[in-house]
Symmetry: C2
Subunit: 405 residues, 2 copies
């Protein structure tokens, strides 16, 4: 745990999926309490509960309103908090569970993906003053009409960080089923190792690239309110990874390597080389609700040019349909696509001042005989698109180059 003070902990659905796991979590919570801390806990719905509730709704009405969907889904977390409070009661500690609205989580009215506006902490403070452990339903809040809202994906992480910010907690501990944030996915690179620290910005890039330990919204909020995060496992006592404003000054330029197979490439070949053409194409795609990631445009010859970009796999078919329907306007000679691609990225706040990083990454790939299809760079990351079969080799080659201990 950490020094005495106020700790906010968050446990995900896997951590409370059955009675045994719930008891395990209860023991962790009471240990932190026993050490003298005030403890506030945000919990997700157990295991597959949310999916089961969605299935129940779909059986009746696949186009149910989001307002009623939130009414339904919020029961998942309510079940979790009651069971977890019961487990803590069994261990003999004072505890109280609070739903989102009882905990004062006020959100806007964007049902299904609501944003937390304010937290009225009066009730939580009162319970803490009584030295009770407070268990709060994650993922949910209440809007100005007194209707229940849910926060959408990663909502429980966001609840926990928002609570930590509002209560000025010393730390927000995010418990998950991995030990912390790794330099890359240990399942594809045996040399991957856990990071002790990482900055908010680096975490944001890693999260959006598929590292899958913390949802971006919660990291953004943690950054905004300067909440110190600790990502750790609910299944062991290993030190996790701290996410905070300024990470240790060290030689490590690159903090992690990620791979994302969920991407597909679309190439518009021989598009008319007229001003604003690319803008018009991407505006059309954006209006259809499809996110575009990497983009490459060949230098036009005054007549035609090629535009390539990547989308999530699920968006490939709708994107292609849209482009083909509008090709009278786009005038591409040919529209090509492939799902057989992966995005491999390196992330690190130190990269911005080091021009040699990209070259070093490309060298690693060249040495491994891996062909680069597309490249995109930002201040703290460099992404390349490679054939899916090459992705694991690419991750290992890059990890060896930058992160070998």
């Amino acid at each position: 745990m950490s020094e005495m003070g106020l700790i906010v902990q968050k446990y995900g659905g896997t951590s409370v999926k059955d009675a045994e796991r719930v008891m395990n979590v209860a023991r962790r919570i009471t240990a932190a309490y026993q050490a003298g801390n005030n403890v506030v806990v945000a919990v997700s719905a157990q295991g597959d509960t949310t999916d089961e509730l969605i299935e129940k709704a779909n059986e009746i009405n696949p186009r149910a309103s989001k307002r009623e969907m939130d009414m339904l889904l919020s029961t998942g977390e309510q079940i979790s908090i009651a069971l977890l409070a019961m487990a803590i009661e069994k261990l003999g500690y004072p505890v109280i569970s609070l739903t989102g609205w009882q905990a004062g989580m006020h959100t806007n009215s964007n049902y299904g993906a609501a944003r937390i506006k304010t937290i009225d902490t009066e009730r939580i403070r009162m319970e803490l003053d009584r030295r009770r452990i407070v268990i709060v339903a994650g993922f949910q809040g209440i809007n100005k009409y007194d209707d229940i809202t849910t926060l959408g994906r990663g909502g429980s992480d966001t609840s926990a960080v928002a609570l930590a910010a509002a209560l000025r907690a010393d730390v927000c501990e995010i418990y998950t089923d991995v030990d912390g944030v790794y330099t890359t996915d240990p399942r594809i690179c045996s040399k991957a190792y856990k990071l002790d620290e990482i900055s908010y910005d680096e975490m944001l890039e890693l999260a959006s690239l598929g590292a899958n330990v913390l949802h971006n919204r919660s990291v953004e909020m943690a950054k905004k309110y300067n909440v110190k995060l600790s990502v750790r496992s609910s299944l062991n006592n290993n030190e996790g990874t701290y996410v905070k404003e300024v990470s240790k000054v060290e030689k490590m330029l690159v903090r992690g390597v990620t791979r994302d197979n969920d991407c597909a490439r679309i190439a518009l070949c021989g598009v008319e080389d007229a001003p604003g053409k690319a803008f018009q194409v991407f505006e059309m795609i954006a209006k259809a609700g499809i996110s575009v990631d990497l983009i490459i445009q060949s230098i036009g010859d005054g007549q035609t040019k090629d535009i390539s970009f990547t989308v999530a796999e699920a968006d490939l078919e709708p994107a292609l349909k849209l482009l083909e329907e509008n090709n009278d306007f786009i005038k591409a000679r040919e529209i090509k696509s492939s799902k057989d691609v992966s995005k491999v990225s390196i992330v690190g706040a130190g990269m911005v001042n080091n021009s040699g990083v990209a070259a070093k990454m490309f060298e690693a790939l060249y040495d491994a005989h891996i062909n680069i299809k597309m490249i995109a760079t930002s201040e703290i990351k460099i992404s390349v698109l490679v054939a899916q079969k090459d992705a694991e080799n690419a991750v290992n080659a890059i990890h060896d180059k930058f992160l070998s201990k």
Copy 2:
């Protein structure tokens, strides 16, 4: 349905146990709405949901606090209201679901068996003014601490009647899986028939005697606030039974015959015949939370007397244990017990002015060669204890005597 106006409907767990039943209920509700009525609906948790939640709790902590139990159990109705609202949305009608607290159901803090204190109808009225169908979670409310409470057994009936009273509804329709209130259980007496009307008092006696269609608390509340009840099936369109203040004046002295197998007899033989002895015995039993039903005390001979009484079957073992542990004080020569008994009762508001009713009932039993073990009477009912094997014959014999058409 009934005349235009404001209708409160209540659907039990069986009526909404799966998607198909939920759609069926949605069609009933929208038909009443389509006919021009404002409709408010109280719903129970689906099928076995409540039992499943209790099991989940027991796995973790069989002695969980009632406060957390209510937090857990109230999710059952919240799931029902969301699903039912979704079904009504599918049929294209305006609808909103409200939890107990959203519907303004204020209760006392007796978790697990809370009493409704007031209903703040502002939100419901606002939704009705918008011509929305309002679906309210039965069985639950909120106390002065903003904590969720549940109303205990028959809670959803009570919610519906309380809503009908607070909203001054024209009628409160209780939908169940039987057609209405019968003269006796049709499964044990083929000549049983449905009553068109019954008074609150008669219904109270029938409910407590095991007729099992309406919970007593809801009938008491309906009587207090003069709410007209209609008990009917959710599976057909048959007219049900009306429960109201003054039922039709008719010749029928006896309104129904009930049988209750859930009783056990305890006999304290040869108890010291001292003043207050019986009182002390029953006080001891009451303090242990055990309800005593029929009581018979033999006329003492100055030395000893016999005291017999009945308890629910589940209470037999604890009651016997208690009595045996305290027999130093009770000084019974022998404590006997039997589960092999049934209570058969007749109920009817007309009985109070007809001294011949009891005699006629005993005659019916005598003619059927059924031995009466105990007798108890009130203004509107007469109960006898018989051997369990004789109970069905007793019901039929009494029904023939009083209720043959």
